[in-house]
Assembly symmetry: C2
Homo-oligomer: 341 residues x 2
Amino acid sequence: MTKHDNRPLTLRDVSEASGVSEMTVSRVLRNRGDVSDATRARVLEAAKTLGYVPNKIAGALASQRVNLVAVIIPSMSNMVFPEVMTGISQILDETGLQPVVGITGYMPEKEEQVLYEMLSWRPSGVIIAGLEHSDASRAMLRAAGIPVVEIMDVDGTPVDSVVGISHRRAGQQMAQAILKAGYEHIAFLGTKMLLDHRARKRFEGFTETLAKAGVEIEDSDFYSGGSALAKGREMTRDVLNRSPDLDFIYYSNDLIGAGGLLYLIEQGVDIPKEMGLAGFNGVNLLRGLPQELATMDSCRLEIGRRAAEIIIERSGSETPQDPKRIVLEPKITYGDTLRVR
Amino acid sequence: MTKHDNRPLTLRDVSEASGVSEMTVSRVLRNRGDVSDATRARVLEAAKTLGYVPNKIAGALASQRVNLVAVIIPSMSNMVFPEVMTGISQILDETGLQPVVGITGYMPEKEEQVLYEMLSWRPSGVIIAGLEHSDASRAMLRAAGIPVVEIMDVDGTPVDSVVGISHRRAGQQMAQAILKAGYEHIAFLGTKMLLDHRARKRFEGFTETLAKAGVEIEDSDFYSGGSALAKGREMTRDVLNRSPDLDFIYYSNDLIGAGGLLYLIEQGVDIPKEMGLAGFNGVNLLRGLPQELATMDSCRLEIGRRAAEIIIERSGSETPQDPKRIVLEPKITYGDTLRVR
DNA sequence: CTGAAAGCGCTAACAT
DNA sequence: ATGTTAGCGCTTTCAG
């Protein structure tokens, strides 16, 4: 029998071509069990000649093992998640595990859909951004019987393990740093954050700490969509028109912060004397601005790495272990825009 | 019989819980064939109560259908590929198809690995960046018997279909625009492009066209790694130290262009009179710079959309059709940094 | 070291 | 409208 149509090749084709049983071919191709060098060579030869690519679907069904790790994140165009992915890949690359990404667009129903879709491929683990999920999503995660790591944020109740920073505390710390530097008339500019819980928590931590010091936010504004740099510019212009007495602006991300910085420099504002600025994320991309924007590292790479390590550690053992909780400590970079006045 | 361990639920569990045959349960869950409303309701109820998630591995093996499209790209931190992904998702979202991303890091061997890995899941199609692949990769693509779309670039010989722009022509057109505007002392700054074939082709098209007009590139430099903005700044400073007579710099991407722009503005250089600048990609992110950088749209979103459309169109029909070739025409945006002198 | 048999969980194709 | 049967292509398990 030879192969006449264009159905994909099977183990059987390799078996026939090499005169070795399917089982032994399988062993050779997976490097499992003892196979004589002669047999191994014949099989490899045949597989290569035919151009055989194993069918992982069949393999996974038979072995009940899938080397996939589901990674579920809100967005890819964000500059923060690609870096998390890099961290995850760095660690998984050494093992046989492969990340598979799903994007939710910050929408809980979409998250539910994506999660369902990914779980139906029976991955070895799930890494998912945030702690806020629909009840159904949480139920699925629990029922899946695989390691789950929620990442980025630790302010809340995880399903299983969690790796991240406290965004609430990040907001608090930035508020403290700003107060300590002597600024008093403070505004907040950010994204509309109905669904970005981490931005919201930073905002809450920020205002809380100011309030405790008897300082009220004097102005704030929230945008959605468009180029962040341009938005930062516009919002900064507008907020200063409304509230000319401001001496500090805290931005919810570095990109709008950079827009504001560029605008203020053009206006001849003396930074950080007349006006201080800070962003969030520690976006390396932005090094090279006329002045370095104060910011706070969100530990993206490290979060990705640690999450992947947890998945590896657990996908090995059969019995579920105690959930891990890893809280990273972001550091403030003062740059040129947040200095004692 | 009830379920006592934590093995994942199967169709059989739903079947027993609802008192309906596995086959009918399967039909309900897939919305296929006629099922009475009463039965449907009972099945749905049972599935929901149990928290059943279908096993796509088994489904795919049985039906020989996989709703996955492999997308293979060099990088995600690049700002160009996330946008391609967005285009792909926009189109695939309406069908049942799901993109699955693999990253190659611009390394041919890694590409081969990733491709092998993805093909072993028997996806419905492949979208892969570039036209340059190892012989083995090309062989796999051909042998897979599924629609393949190579994207971004059209200068070369595709395996099957192709959607992109001519980077060679993009370089040529920018050269023409620069010459027409009256610039004569031109430098090129870019990334090390041994493996970025598209950047190389732009460079070649650029120098060719200049050469035809009797103009030689007066200086050039290539970087790798680090923050693009900062690199653009440094390289611009250095190239002007070496070649103070320059009146135009063509950057291989918008980000280093932006770095150069910021540097030159600080130096009080009159742009575009004393010095003209242009980048490449049409990165929307950068709107909001003090001056708008001249650039050329690389049609990323459209490329993603068209590629996805081709996959959909073909993954339906059984017989392979003629390869498609879609050449998009990027337009120059002159911005504030490329003007007739 | 190699092979044969029995599924993995689902769906195509055929009954009824 | 619903059920039955026979695999999908591989790996596990058990025999040689």
